[in-house]
């Protein structure tokens, strides 16, 4: 059986085919070794990163944009978003700071992607 994948590792978006034969897997069409790794991962345990916003208390804005530092299992994305939305940060928040370490017990951290200064009293 042949399956076709669109690689999402970089913007080239290579179309990669994976053919499962009796003697193993034949991967073709990848532009670089990362494509091969991506397809292997995609076939066994697809992973994604996401970005969302997190509540901030006492800040100049009510929300702060955040992202994952590493991909997590695709099936757990909505669970991760819910876990992020459950929490509230205290201003000030610095861009790049870890706001949740190891989300859902994975090795992926949630980091702030912008500064939120404390609201002026």
């Amino acid at each position: 059986m042949t399956k076709t994948f669109t690689c999402i590792v970089c913007p080239n978006g290579c179309e990669i085919s994976a053919e499962t034969a009796a003697d193993g897997l034949c991967i073709t069409g990848e532009g670089c070794p990362r494509g091969r790794t991506y397809v292997m991962q995609e076939m066994t345990d697809p992973q994604r990163t996401i970005a969302t916003s997190m509540r901030v208390e006492g800040g100049e804005t009510d929300l702060c944009s955040v992202r994952l530092t590493k991909p997590i299992p695709k099936a757990r994305i909505m669970e991760a978003v819910a876990a992020i939305h459950e929490r509230t940060l205290k201003a000030p928040v610095a861009s790049g700071s870890v706001v949740i370490a190891g989300i859902l017990g994975t090795d992926s951290d949630v980091i702030a992607t912008k500064d939120v200064a404390a609201a002026e009293a």
Binding site: T6, I8, E15
Partner: protein, 409 residues
């Protein structure tokens, strides 16, 4: 009138990269003018990741990518104005700026146009129907959610498969909205393949090609839209209409370089890119006025916007220090399968980076640049898509043969 070496119009990714590179090249009498309250341009609202893969070898969010340049601008002490809008540039390069402190007029030796682009709206498509609230361009919806922290939608239909539209389909889904489908008038997606996968397929959002919205319904708030299939000439097919109820219609139907100021300055535009017609030094038809980034032609990757703006900076540096800056007058013709090229003309005296887009999706092709009988640039592509800008080095040879870029099998 204040004298200045370079005035940079716009503090987004192009303006920031140009400023840093100019400063590093020793050109210090420069000024960035930004109309928003802070630097960063459109990157401020692009909180998804995927920026910087080419430039930094890591996947950053938009604000983080912008921050790397903004910090450098601040570190170097490059002067910038925010909350300040350029309202006029004359062909003689007198630049009028409205600031909090009042009206300023600068007379820089060179102007860098880095204003970016804007979105095509419902008006540009002339979609029939009523005019309720709930019809937004993708960028406006993105600003509501990511900058103003407001959720503008519950039941969503998206028209157009541009990258921002697909990214908003994912973003709206993550924030609890239901995205019913994306409809695209063309027979192929407008955005990058990776976004079809990671923004639509991952969230089971269907993409219907060769479909468009033919009527908008609703009194105060949008209540629904009529969707029709289109024929090969993109005309709606009578009898295929289907009504879908929704409270929000997001439009991701193309970007147009923002060139009102350029036109005022007498800059000639290319009808295909809707940006300035430039030579390989990014100089427009008005001497001393340069353009790069999305104001020149719409890019799909910010990494290339930064690169192009840095190339502009080096050219501006040469323009300021060298005497007799040669103007490129030799036109590059767009041959078979090529929608546009940037630059549109060259001096023919030096190697340069050619950017182009193909006219339709193709597989196993070679992009060939010819000068008379000589091949001066060649790039093999497993697939070439209109959504992906192609960049290649081209080395002109002696002689005055006609220049042409085309797609060969």
């Amino acid at each position: 009138m204040s004298k200045l070496d370079v005035l940079i119009v716009g503090g987004g990714p192009a303006g920031l990269a140009a400023a840093v590179r100019l400063y590093e090249a020793g050109i210090r009498d420069i000024l960035i003018v930004e109309r928003e309250k802070t630097l960063g341009g459109i990157l401020r609202q692009c909180i998804h990741d995927g920026f910087g893969l080419t430039r930094f070898g890591e996947s950053l969010s938009g604000p983080e990518y912008a921050r790397r340049f903004i910090e450098r601008v601040k570190e170097l002490g490059i002067p910038y104005l925010t909350d300040a809008a350029v309202t006029e540039i004359t062909p003689e390069r007198a630049v009028t700026v409205v600031t909090r402190e009042g009206l300023m007029v600068y007379h820089p030796r060179a102007v860098a146009l880095t204003m970016g682009c804007r979105e095509r709206t419902r008006g540009a498509l002339a979609i029939p129907g009523e005019r309720p609230a709930g019809v937004y361009t993708a960028g406006v919806a993105q600003a509501y959610i990511n900058l103003y922290n407001r959720m503008p939608a519950r039941e969503v239909i998206i028209l157009g498969s541009g990258d921002i539209g697909m990214i908003m389909a994912r973003r709206l889904t993550l924030e609890g909205a239901h995205v019913q489908a994306v409809y695209e008038v063309l027979p192929y997606p407008s955005g990058l393949p990776r976004n079809v996968l990671q923004c639509l397929d991952d969230y089971d959002i269907p993409l219907y090609l060769s479909h468009t919205v033919t009527c908008i319904h609703g009194d105060r708030r949008l209540e629904g839209v009529t969707i029709s299939r289109v024929d090969e000439k993109l005309r709606p097919i009578p009898g295929t209409e289907e009504y879908h109820s929704c409270d929000t219609l997001i439009l991701s139907v193309g970007l147009i370089p923002e060139n009102e100021l350029s036109l005022n300055a007498g800059v000639e535009l290319d009808p295909h890119t809707k940006g300035a017609d430039v030579d390989e030094h990014y100089q427009t038809s008005v001497p001393g006025v340069f353009a790069a980034g999305n104001v020149l032609h719409v890019h799909d990757l910010v990494d290339f916007v930064s690169q192009e703006a840095e190339a502009l900076a080096l050219a501006v540096g040469r323009y300021l220090t060298e005497e007799g800056f040669a103007e490129g007058t030799r036109e590059i013709a767009c041959g078979r399968g090529v929608r546009y090229t940037v630059p549109q003309r060259i001096t023919g005296k030096e190697e340069f980076t050619l950017s182009l887009r193909v006219a339709a999706p193709m597989k196993d092709v070679t992009i060939v640049v010819r000068q008379g009988d000589a091949v001066i640039g060649k790039k093999k592509m497993k697939k070439a898509l209109p959504a992906e800008m192609i960049r290649m080095k081209v080395s002109p040879v002696e002689g005055d043969g006609e220049l042409e870029v085309r797609v060969d099998d």
